[in-house]
Subunit: 234 residues, 6 copies
């Protein structure tokens, strides 16, 4: 099967990191097609960036009609509802996938993300999905998204500090890494803290495969109904 992995921002190194993570976990025969829209902001840090990424993101999805499933590789789940309305195949966001995975592995998880400005959007998603009840807290590290690309050890230390607080103060039993750029930290942090540290990219790709395998399609009744072209149905 073919899975379209769209990074909504325009930073190609982030797309590449996500695609590599995805390819490590897919089943034989699954092709991961990675896409980066040209005109988007270089990173998504808050509601304005989310909005500015939408046209490029949705254009990439339109450009790949043969995909068996779509994964949106930004932790804000940028444009997830609009993308679902566009296509009939399953569409998953990496934030959403990580929350669902954490809910099946622990009684309570916390999220560790980048900047404080991104926290309300993530919290709003959790409420929307219903999974806020499973989340102890969404914590920010004040690390800008693109700093994650530099591999600075202080960055990992800052993330580890928040994981420690989440375990001690939130009662977190699992940690969700709240940025696509943190994908490569999953294994090291899981080992260090002895609990599931979950990356949304791999979860989303694997769940997308699962939904394709069972023959599931996005509902076209209600909120995700195919858009009415101007001049047509109304």
């Amino acid at each position: 099967m073919r899975i379209l992995l769209v990074n909504p921002n325009s930073t190609v190194s982030m797309t590449e990191k996500a695609a590599q993570a995805a390819r490590r976990v897919v089943r034989p025969g699954t092709e991961v097609v990675a896409a980066t829209p040209a005109g988007s902001p270089p990173s998504i840090q808050g509601f304005f960036d989310v909005a500015m990424c939408l046209p490029g993101l949705l254009a990439e999805i339109a450009r790949n009609p043969e995909a068996d499933a779509v994964v949106i590789a930004c932790f804000d789940d940028t444009g997830l509802d609009a993308a679902r309305a566009m296509v009939e195949v399953p569409v998953l966001g990496i934030g959403e996938a990580a929350f669902h995975a954490a809910s099946m592995l622990s009684c309570r998880f916390s999220v560790v993300t980048t900047l404080r400005r991104s926290v309300p959007g993530i919290e709003a998603n959790l409420v929307r999905y219903g999974l806020a009840a499973r989340c102890g807290r969404v914590r920010s590290t004040e690390i800008p998204v693109l700093h994650l690309e530099r591999g600075d050890p202080a960055t990992t230390g800052r993330i580890a500090d928040e994981i420690r607080h989440a375990i001690d103060e939130d009662g977190a039993e699992a940690i969700v890494l709240g940025c696509a750029g943190m994908t490569d930290l999953m294994d090291g942090l899981s080992a260090r803290f002895g609990l599931p540290v979950i990356d949304g990219v791999t979860c989303a790709v694997a769940f997308a495969e699962a939904l394709v395998a069972v023959g599931a399609r996005t509902s076209k009744v209600g909120g995700y109904a195919t858009p009415i072209r101007a001049g047509a149905a109304e």
Copy 2:
């Protein structure tokens, strides 16, 4: 003061109807500047249309930096979070304003909107704002947005039917009209049913004046912090 009223879709007659309604209620000295983005879809019916309206909507806001407040004249509150991140003045959506007004006039309200496909987005907004607890039900009439522009009496009859169901079945004590195109029906339906039938356009404009009058500004700490320009802070 100057209030920018942006209709996110491209149908000028809807903008005009909203602007007229707004001008009837503002205080002397308030100027309502109405804007219609050129490239948007003609109506917003679901998540895809919401996403496609965002660039035009945000561009109109950027083009009017001297506004003392911004009102987004679509019941989905299209781009509300992104708009708040862009400016320091108050920004209100008409859906949001209607929900707040209804909460101060009744114990429970129901919403009567256009198509079923628009219901999940409105419900998601209610949950996000916290006001879902005050809403009995979001009801659709299956009237497309642009049909409202034609003044067909059958249209009003269909809306009245759902209002009746809302009163009888949902325990609704007030009704929120769930589309900017229904603005002109408020007075007639209020009189007919003997309870508040609330239009978001007038509420949003009047609340915007109120927030300007008390000197309130959009918070720039957290989710609505000023966007970081690429190459700057990160």
Copy 3:
């Protein structure tokens, strides 16, 4: 238009401070009629005081039938439901108004109030209104209500301390001042902390004007139906 501003407690200096704040923000032509019931407790600090203020408060409302709107100037929103059942014009509480305003200016707010004993009543209101989801925490300063009348700088310092905790620990993006007696601190604290510090008195008066401007009335269907006089309908 004429707005009746009732201070439910019997401390005239509090009524005066609230009325002054109200008069600074109303539109030309709006008259603020301030009322203080004679027999009420001097301040409202907890559920018992709320109950003891009700007869005097409701009598003041009955005494002013020509008001176009009523504002209840106590942060507990004392008697709000009963007052709405009495009249057809809009009735607003200052607590409620501040919560609605804060919800339109920020993703999350915290409340800073006087005594711990007042916290559960405020929390119950937030749940009732549906806006508990938007509130990080209701914080008490252990400053009795009437101490606020003395202008002691230590008092402001104590309030500022809690605002700092709210920003750092609750993720608050705006602050609601939880007592009518804090009205005069709004501007100074907003400037000091660089985020909206919201006073309910001005918000309630301005929202009352807004609701009158749009022609809104309190619903008389359901919970706010006109009371049945003894010997009449039953």
Copy 4:
């Protein structure tokens, strides 16, 4: 032990009916002292009546300082918070007691009450207590409170109709009778429908005995702290 049973309204026949029901269930040695405030409205039908009953109700409680527990015999739980602040012994409302009992006997209950105008207050109580999650629906019969005193068979028929709807449509497994005046219908309706039909008066009195038996007292820390007399602590 001595239990004070206060009927907040001034209809003595309702007090007597409640006291009789209470005396049937108490343990040997428990004295039920029934009180009816003189100046209250004859029945409580909505928020305004609730407010007007408070002074008389609280005066009756003050007049009976030797009570080991207090039961407020109105389904709105009129003045429950204020009464708890006044005394150190347990104070129970009959609405509250019925909800707690129903929660321990069934997975979900519905309430059948008198007039539609009383529904929002009952719903607000359920939310406040946390037990809204256990309630299918609060249903009104449009029977005024004092009609219940007349023993009209049509009245019971109307209540039975709503019980049937509650079982079929709400998934109710138990029914809470939503008025002190329905106390005498409990046994007949339980037998007729084959499920628990719960009356709050008997539950409240029996739970009050239980709390006294275990030595429980109302908390004086926080919301129910002893009121500060004017001129004292502040």
Copy 5:
């Protein structure tokens, strides 16, 4: 009347402590029949122990068909739903009873229990019962259940520390002791902290008496319907 008090674990000293506490509070004429299943784990610390206790617990209930009410004396309310399906008399869990009692004595309570591993089960119960809204926090002391049997003063000190945190940080106005083995600490801790410290065993037994006194029965409609024997109804 006869109340069956089943301790789901196999530690007889815990059963005895609970039975003694129960017998101190019951009315004259009430017999407390205490039961300890032979094959259960010695203590219940988490979900696995809960499951392993069920057969023995339910067998003890089946062995005592003449009981007028059943109390399950483990704070996890082990097997509460299954026990209710088995019998027609009231069945109460001690966790549930303590939560209901605390809700009638305070605006907010916190729970102080044994091990962290037991916290999610208690939290899930609170959500299920609807009373999570009334609970500030479920706190663990890291004291294993059977250590409570040894009367070590350090144990009480550890519990007292968490009570102090609950009052200061959670806004707790009452404390629920989260283990049947803490029953004997109730009086001392109540006196020490000056607020209700609630033990579920005594509350459950007294509430069971109350429900029997009012003639209440477990609903047999819906979730607690009598089980269908294999080969019978299906």
Copy 6:
């Protein structure tokens, strides 16, 4: 990889149907090991049956320590928490998996299950998982579980009727089939109604594969910590 599929009840034909469904969707190289405990009830219809199935279910899991993941093939997610505490590999319930899948394919789903007595347990699970917010209603058909094994067309008609109600009355955009015995109806009903009709068995198996593929493990910190053997840690 090896996935252990345990049917908690003792009806081998149900195990076989579930195993066949599972084997149709797994990736090449995945082995589905199906297990049926000998001493369990023949079907699970309510809380009592759930409890009686636990020892057999957990024994089957203990007997298969080499499984890479465990799927519990009963829609009540029987013993899910206890099973997670027993092992380190991922454990999924078919109810849970179906809810998560439906949440990623639609804005709102409804459940169509067998008997009314099973509804409260399913609703409790939805609340526990956090996904109650995504569910319109849990509907019963009054078809006993084992009737599903007979392939009676009237059975399918009854299920189809409830699906129609769910679409029209609940706003359902997807349907979750609420019993392992309905697995074979998924494709026909999806085609008939033109929306996703979701079976938990296939979803759970595919999600289990996904979680194994990404290297996820059940958290051993907190609620799912490895049980303490008697005589050991305490």
